[in-house]
């Protein structure tokens, strides 16, 4: 069974560090290869151009000045001005292209990640704090864009830059170039000794921050409970501990990450000094004053890209850590998806059949064991029985939120695992125990059931479940904005809205799972009427099949079929009258409840 993820448990990455993630991200980069190549060319041209400037300076010093040739000097100045202007334009082009590519990549990765999340099973959401999921879709994706656009280009460019400079240097003086290049092996040594520590450190930072954010997000959602139980102090301590460990991890990572820059700086200074020593003591006068000077500035220019590579490398480490998280989410298995040859479920008539269905949420415990039953179109079925007996599981299987481990479930003779999910769930009206309301206008929440519903249909649906009474009292009626988590609506009002949402979806099969537990009795009565109206088939055709899980006797009694679920199977079935006559589990339940009234 999947380990749940608590706020103070670091998520472990299953995949070892590899270039796999980067390779995979090429998929996103590839789409933009035209822009990327253009940007790359512009950038390369621009840096080639900027390399000509020291050459012009050298020329001025070595030729124009000794010759006192002002005309040539002006010409050189004009040339360098043009070079600068062109290189700026090229840089601008590159910046524009890369911003666009970067933003497009964010948009694409985020879109794909989000789309994948839509297909993930409940268990994915149930097993980890929501804050940890959120941070991947928003922050992490934001953080990878720069590396995947500018980072890649810069990386290639800097490498090219280095190559160019090496060529220029070699052209000028082979011996001096070798002096400069001697520093490279030292540098690699330094880098490769820092690298693993750095990766671990950044991963640690990301873990600790993610824990902190998860706890903060949960604290907001549970704030009322915290205040009721006056646990503010204790929570503050926990948060303090999390904040402190995030702080320490970040500090450590900062210390490690910042070793690279000074290392490059010192090595390059050493090389520079060495260049002068070698140039003056050994090679001079075989090389001119101008050449030593130019080599000096090339050697700086040689180390600069290496320094920048070090910085890119840093970002790269961060990005890889984020990419790992993003791809990990994208790799989460979709447990329930359309079969390859899935077809559209035709308009539901309402025959439902369970054939020998066995199911458990994990391998060890079976919630349903070889359950079989058949329900004809138009019947209303009440599922009753002790809590945890598997009533909700039955409706979850019927809506294909889970797949049965054995057996088949048929709707109108179609195996539900063979039809498309959209056509299946789109025709089911499912009212859950937990009625989640989205932020946005009241009408948008009702329209959520059927996106093309018009204003009149929305108001009609609200009237059917008597939600119109409280909606009319709100300041902007159907246009009233509701904040996250239903804002100031009471639980009962949320259920009514959720009900209207189901009604408007005009379902072929209606599933009510404790859907009215918080609605007051009078309203529930109205709602019942609304449901019967809906079930009766407004178009005059056959009624709709419905499955109802409820505790209230009045609701149960009126159903066409009552199934008593116990120990993973059906122990009794029949109408209210039949089951009462049987004097079994149902009778006992019913009479003991009547006693309490």
């Amino acid at each position: 069974m999947a380990q749940r993820n608590k706020y103070d448990i670091d998520e472990r990455l299953e995949s070892p560090f590899s270039l796999r993630h980067l390779k995979r991200s090429f998929f996103y980069i590839k789409r933009h290869r035209k822009k990327m190549s253009a940007a790359f060319l512009a950038s390369a041209a621009s840096s080639a151009l900027s390399l000509t400037i020291p050459m012009m300076v050298a020329r001025a010093l070595d030729v124009s000045v000794p010759n006192r040739d002002i005309r040539e000097l002006v010409l050189l100045a004009a040339l360098s001005a043009v070079a600068i202007a062109v290189s700026i334009c090229l840089n601008r082009l590159r910046a524009k292209l890369m911003t666009e590519v970067g933003q497009d990549i964010i948009y694409e990765i985020r879109g794909e990640l989000f789309a994948h999340m839509q297909a993930l099973p409940f268990s994915y959401y149930d097993n980890r704090p929501h804050g940890k999921i959120l941070v991947r879709v928003v922050q992490y994706v934001n953080s990878v864009s720069n590396m995947l656009s500018n980072g890649i280009i810069d990386f290639i460019l800097e490498i090219m830059n280095i190559a160019f400079i090496i060529v220029f240097m070699l052209l000028m003086s082979v011996r001096l170039s070798l002096v400069v290049l001697a520093g490279l092996p030292v540098l690699f040594l330094v880098f490769f000794s820092i690298k693993p520590a750095q990766r671990r450190a950044w991963q640690d930072v990301s873990n600790k921050n993610s824990n902190l954010n998860a706890y903060a997000a949960e604290s907001i959602n549970g704030m009322r409970i915290t205040q009721i139980f006056t646990r503010e102090k204790k929570n503050e301590e926990i948060f303090e501990r999390l904040a402190m460990s995030a702080r320490c991890a970040h500090f450590r990572a900062g210390l490690i990450a910042n070793l690279g820059g000074p290392a490059v700086e010192n090595i390059s200074q050493l090389i520079f000094g060495f260049l002068y020593l070698a140039g003056i003591l050994w090679i001079y006068p075989a090389v001119s004053f101008g050449v030593i000077f130019a080599m000096g500035s090339y050697s700086w220019r040689f180390w600069q890209p290496i320094n920048r590579l070090a910085a890119i490398y840093n970002d790269f480490m961060n990005t890889i850590a984020y990419l790992e998280r993003i791809f990990e989410t994208m790799d989460e298995p979709v447990l329930i998806s359309d079969a390859p040859d899935a077809y559209e479920l035709p308009k539901i008539k309402g025959d439902v059949e369970f054939e020998n269905v066995t199911f458990g949420y994990d391998e060890h415990t079976k919630v349903l064991d070889g359950l079989s039953f058949k329900v004809e179109a138009g019947m209303s079925v009440a599922l009753v029985g002790p809590t945890g007996a598997g009533k909700t599981t039955i409706v979850n299987l019927l809506s294909r939120f889970y797949d049965a481990q054995c057996g088949r479930i048929l709707i109108d003779g179609h195996d539900i695992s063979k039809v498309t999910l959209a056509s299946l769930r789109g025709q089911m009206g499912i009212m859950l125990q937990d009625s989640f309301i989205f932020s946005g206008a009241v009408e948008e929440n009702i329209r959520y059931g059927r996106l093309d519903a018009g204003q009149e249909e929305i108001e009609a649906a609200a009237r059917v479940v008597h939600a119109d009474e409280f909606i009319e009292k709100m300041e902007e009626r159907y246009g009233t904005e509701i904040k996250e988590n239903g804002g100031r609506l009471s639980q009962g009002q949320k259920q009514l809205l959720a009900f209207a949402r189901t009604v408007i979806s005009d379902p072929g099969i209606l599933i009510l799972d404790e859907a009215t537990s918080s609605i007051d009795t009078k309203t529930e009565k109205y709602v019942q009427e609304g449901i019967s109206h809906l079930l009766g088939g407004a178009a005059g055709g056959a009624g709709r099949t419905s499955f109802i899980i409820a505790h209230r006797l009045s609701t149960i009694r009126e159903c066409d079929l009552i199934m008593y679920i116990k120990d993973g199977g059906i122990t009794e079935r029949g109408t209210h009258g039949e089951l009462m006559a049987k004097r079994g589990d149902y009778y006992n339940m019913y009479t003991s409840q009547l006693l309490d009234l």
Binding site: K6, I84, F239, F293, R425, Y448, Q493, L553, L595
Partner: protein, 590 residues
């Protein structure tokens, strides 16, 4: 300016480190000037005059200078990391503490997504400015000034030529600043919307699937994602308009160096060594100017983030401890009284002059329509909001006079919408009494009919997810009830606690609640007759008023609304009513 003052305030405890780091950052540019000077000596004296003896000491000195400089740099990095992370820590704690003091209004008006954006992105932006931007501004300014002074001291004419164009860069940057103001605020807003949308989708994933609205969700999300992208691009496009001007001006120094340097070299007013020094230092003039735009950009974002954090921190809860609020360690007796209490949400009056009294140990039940103000009564007692008029008294004292903690310590409550934390079942039950021995946790669970926990994979050590979604509604309710019982409260408020629990279990719970080991006043809010029928008094709320009150039998006999409810719930026609009477008579006899 207020933002800077605020940052300074928040740096408390880390100010010295930050100042030291600032000091070092200012020292470092000075070092930058040393090496070019040495280089100049290298060229003029070693190359020009052939003083070869100077070569090795000079080169060694240059290396030492760099080493010292990078060590100083590293020290300043360590200092700035330590102090900025300290600030982040301070801010996080401050915001977290602030949240904990806020009332329901605050959490209604600031969505979780907004609050999380403040906690993450905004704080990060402040830190980014602290680490890079402020330092960069100061060190760039110093670098620029230092280099200029050095230039002027060496050769004022040449220096003048090089710096002549720089005022134009300031002008361009200033104009740019005006254009981007507001853009970043909007960017931040869109990010926060994106966050909120994703968060809701995650929370509501069941509903999304139930309606097979995945495609709609994706479309909605992509629209927000695109809005964010477009705004980001917009900000960047503005920058790109100014980029050629600023970049061109700053790089123009290379041309002036070449042209004027050459001319001055020819007419002998500049030595080759001086030229070298100028040339190798030209970046000290251009770099600061180049960065100006980006720095201002970041500064804008800093102001946007800082003002958001400040405005959140400035919000005052409407429910606060009064001055001289009464703190008491003694257990309350558990008396509750409402005297003519009224409350409204805006124009919508929810309670209109409600009065009742519950004596210690009694059970009061509240029934009423959806939105009739039942939960509000619970919130008034535990003071999550205050009445508009009238008085709410607990143990004979107005709740507004009690210290909030004292008051709430004496109340155990379950809320309509059950929220469980990502913690073990044990941790959830012991939430309000976290030192509680495991044995007592089990007892509470048993009282709340949460025996199902024993069948879970790790029993009481099983972690239940956020919002406890791994559990059924009834199971969540029972854990929430156990949590409320765990604090052994003198006042127990049960808001719709057993609505998703089956009747048999409810009956079991009721029996156990009647025989608690501690005396406890109970307030039960419910829709089911079975939940309220044993109460000492049942109040029926309609239109914000108490319309019926009495015991179950009294209310049935009165044949009013309560009787009507009873008939509906029992599904009563006259035949069944007779059957119920029969059964009940038998039950009492047996």
């Amino acid at each position: 300016m207020a933002a800077f003052k605020w940052v300074w305030e928040s740096l408390r405890g880390f100010r010295k480190r930050y100042l030291l780091c600032f000091f070092i950052s200012m020292l470092v540019p000075m070092f930058v000037l040393i090496n070019p000077t040495l280089q100049r000596a290298l060229i003029d004296r070693v190359l020009g005059n052939g003083e070869i003896a100077l070569l090795i000491p000079t080169v060694t000195a240059m290396c030492l200078v760099t080493l010292t400089r990078s060590l100083l740099n590293y020290a300043s990095v360590a200092l700035v990391e330590s102090s900025s992370l300290g600030l982040v820590y301070n801010l996080r704690m401050k915001i977290y503490r602030h949240w904990q003091r806020q009332d329901m209004r605050f959490f209604r008006e600031n969505t979780p997504g907004d609050l999380m954006t403040v906690m993450t992105s905004d704080i990060d932006m402040v830190r980014h400015n602290l680490v890079f931007v402020f330092r960069q501004i100061v060190s760039s300014a110093l670098l620029f000034l230092g280099a200029s002074v050095y230039y002027f001291a060496m050769n004022w004419r040449f220096a003048l030529c090089m710096i002549a164009l720089t005022p134009l860069i300031f002008l361009a940057t200033y104009v740019y600043r005006g254009k981007v103001r507001g853009i970043y605020k909007e960017l931040r807003r869109r990010l926060s919307k994106l966050n909120a949308d994703a968060q809701e989708n995650i929370e509501g994933n069941r509903v999304v699937k139930a309606f097979a609205n995945e495609a709609f969700e994706i479309e909605k999300f992509n629209a927000k994602s695109d809005a964010f992208r477009v705004q980001n691009l917009g900000a960047q496009y503005i920058w790109l308009r100014f980029f050629p001007i600023i970049e061109g001006l700053s790089q123009s120094t290379a041309v002036t160096t070449l042209l004027f340097g050459g001319v001055f070299l020819i007419n002998g007013t500049l030595t080759p060594g001086e030229f070298m020094a100028f040339n190798s230092l030209s970046w000290a003039v251009t770099e600061p100017l180049r960065q100006l735009g980006q720095l201002f950009n970041d500064l804008q974002r800093f102001f946007a983030s800082a003002s958001k954090i400040m405005s959140i921190l400035e919000e005052k809860p409407s429910v606060e401890n009064a001055e001289g609020a009464v703190v008491s360690g003694e257990r309350f007796r558990g008396e509750i009284e409402f005297r003519d209490v009224s409350f409204s949400f805006g124009d919508n009056a929810v309670l209109r002059g409600v009065s009742f009294r519950v004596m210690p140990g009694e059970t009061l039940a509240l029934m009423g329509g959806t939105g009739s103000g039942k939960s509000l009564i619970a919130n008034l007692i535990s003071r999550f909001c205050d009445a508009d008029s009238g008085e709410v008294l607990v143990d004979g004292r107005d709740v507004r006079e009690w210290d909030l903690t004292t008051l709430r310590r004496n109340i155990g409550m379950t809320t309509q919408e059950v929220f469980l934390f990502s913690d073990t079942v044990d941790g959830n039950i012991a939430y309000g009494n976290f030192d509680m021995p495991e044995e007592e946790v089990r007892q509470c669970a048993e009282t709340a009919a949460a025996q199902f926990v024993y069948d879970m994979p790790d029993g009481f050590a099983t972690i239940v997810g956020e919002r406890g979604v791994g559990l059924s509604g009834g199971q969540k309710q029972r854990i929430a009830l156990a949590r409320a019982l765990a604090v052994r409260p003198p006042i127990l408020i049960l808001d719709d606690t057993t609505s998703a629990v089956d009747m048999e279990t409810e009956k079991y719970i009721q029996e156990r609640l009647e025989n608690l080991e501690f005396t406890c006043t109970k307030l039960i809010i419910a829709q089911r007759i079975s939940s309220v029928r044993k109460a000492d008094c049942i109040l029926l709320l309609e239109d914000g008023r108490v319309t019926e009150s009495g015991t179950h039998e009294e209310l049935l006999a009165a044949r009013g609304s309560y009787y009507g409810l009873w008939r509906i719930q029992a599904g009563v026609d006259d035949g069944t009513e007779a059957m119920i009477r029969e059964l009940q008579r038998k039950g009492e006899a047996g």
